[in-house]
Symmetry: C2
Subunit: 331 residues, 2 copies
DNA sequence: TTGAAAGCGCTACCAC
DNA sequence: GTGGTAGCGCTTTCAA
């Protein structure tokens, strides 16, 4: 490959200085005469020179890239998270190297391995991976920030405040007079699903110890919400409120109820979690999460960690906000 | 930074061979004795060696990464596109380097510049950037694939088959007996909006030359759909079908019609474009686009181009599929 | 089949 | 301040 691209040497030659000086100018070192700087820069300009990143990385052992490993996600959650990360990363002069990690731990390992040497740190969201599997798959010696993942003793960790959100939701339902509140949960291996479910139980136990507690386990999608709601229907719908573990499940519930001509919210209240755009259109009561903010924060922490600040390995919680809409409205 | 990571030299020493042989083994060159290979591999194993990517890149002038530059996108479209790209990229042994490019051309230039040397090629979607601006911002000498972007003489280009989708839609409406079909278009500077609008006109002219043609220009959002529909309402709703340029506009139309107590689809049929999740929920007739497939295809073409196949600079169209639902149902 | 060595382009240390 | 230069870790001729 004799791609004769201009190198730092060409610039040095044209400017009449050494490569060392050119390098200094390019990296903003202060020990350079303004005159030198000017000459070098004009040579750079004239040649249309651009530094070779790989060479620089080899020299500095820095890539200025951040690896982002996420599960197979859909829709708004994914795009919001990426938006937040991208914004923070550009601000800090980092690029994002993205890859999906599927449920399979060994594949996740391959993906993470492929990032070795390409990134200065990794942000990983692996709610489906056990702590041990994850730690095993992660390249050693690279700063890591966890998002919504189990464990968190080894790395800084960001989590959605599922407990706060779900507690507020249960309180809201109770306050609006609901007595038989059922929770449609996601798969409980998923940490968010687990926490929301736990928070539901705890909130019920604390706020309304005499009322029945019931959890129907499903998965984080619309079809699951439909199926679980149909099963309630088969029982004669012995509840007056359905709190789903996320908005998609709530959507499934709404559809099933509508098809069965059960009035929402008059007969049954329905609530979700996440506040996807859909929720607003459907006037669905839900819990909003600042996903973009969470992504940005993850980048911030990681960059700090890359820069050597071994500050704290503590877990931070991304605040949530109860949004009450029509589906839990009147009664 | 004396991070004493094991290098190829350590492996060579332990295996009792030269670095050249280790390199050959690692790169699967055939001219190595099985015995040699075995010894090298066990040394690799023993040391937990992993090649330094930057060094390899410097040597080979290959990064095995693809740059992806997208506008600030929301929701399903973004995540689907990324999913498709990620899948294809992993399959081909590439990683994705992602960055948003905002409307500002100079910022877009910076982003693209930052990718130089980090990627072997770029996939760019810049419907908002003029062809000249884009070409100016793009690093020279790097393979590029365009998605939904103006121009396309310089690079292979992928586009949504707006024409096919809209034509099928118009045909469907005509077949179901609609006679006065109005099109709510997006801003016609947007290439998709323009094409859909043009396809509507052409399809009407070809399939029903005697029927009236009418385009109301708006923008790709719900509020615009509402506003345009209200203006039709003010005229006494002189149409029996509304084809919006996307689902959000159709949603706006639906809401306005519902508020005005105009029966859908009995009195007026409504259709959208994109098949966002909302469309399914609202039972909205629309045109589905295989976004993930489009992303995967873009990667395929780019990788081929990186590999030196200077095949065709032609534009490919991502197929669409008419999805008929209740909003254009009976009559 | 294997090894020695010349780069790849850049940074940073050490002299001057 | 500036220049020379030794690596950074790898791939790939060219010889043996």
């Amino acid at each position: 490959m004799t791609e004769s691209v201009t190198t730092i040497r060409d610039v040095a030659r044209l400017a009449g200085f050494s490569v060392a000086s050119v390098s200094r100018v390019l990296n903003g070192h202060s020990t350079v005469t303004p005159a030198t700087r000017a000459k070098v820069m004009s040579a750079v300009e004239a040649l249309g020179y651009f530094p070779n990143i790989a060479a620089r990385s080899l020299s500095t052992a820095r890539t200025h890239a951040i690896g982002v490993a996420l599960p197979d996600m859909h829709g708004e959650f994914f795009s919001e998270l990426m938006r937040g990360m991208d914004r923070a990363a550009s601000d800090q002069g980092y690029l994002l190297l993205l890859s999906n990690i599927h449920a399979d731990a060994s594949i996740a390992g391959q993906v993470l391995t492929a990032m070795r040497g390409r990134v200065d740190g990794i942000i990983i969201m692996a709610p489906q991976l056990a702590e041990g599997e994850r730690e095993n798959a992660l390249p050693r010696g690279l700063p890591v920030v966890l998002i919504n993942s189990p464990g968190g003793q080894e790395h800084p960790s960001l989590r959605i405040d599922n407990t706060g959100g779900m507690t507020a939701m249960v309180a809201h339902l109770l306050q609006s007079g609901r007595r038989t509140i059922v929770h449609l949960s996601g798969m409980l291996e998923n940490i968010d699903a687990f926490e929301r479910q736990l928070a539901y139980r705890n909130a019920m136990a604390r706020l309304a110890p005499d009322l029945p507690v019931r959890v129907l386990e499903g998965s984080f999608d619309e079809a699951s919400g439909e199926a679980l709601t149909r099963s309630l229907l088969a029982e004669g719908m012995p509840v007056d409120a359905i709190v789903a573990a996320n908005d998609m499940m709530a959507l499934g519930a709404l559809q099933t109820l509508r098809a069965a001509n059960i009035a929402v919210p008059d007969r049954v209240a329905v609530a979700g979690f996440d506040d996807v755009p859909l929720a607003r259109y459907l006037d669905l009561t839900t819990v909003a999460v600042d996903i973009a903010g969470l992504g940005a924060r993850a980048v911030e922490i990681l960059v700090r960690s890359i820069s050597g600040e071994t500050a704290g390995l503590k877990t931070e919680f991304c605040q949530t906000r109860l949004i009450t809409r029509a589906t839990t409205g009147g009664r």
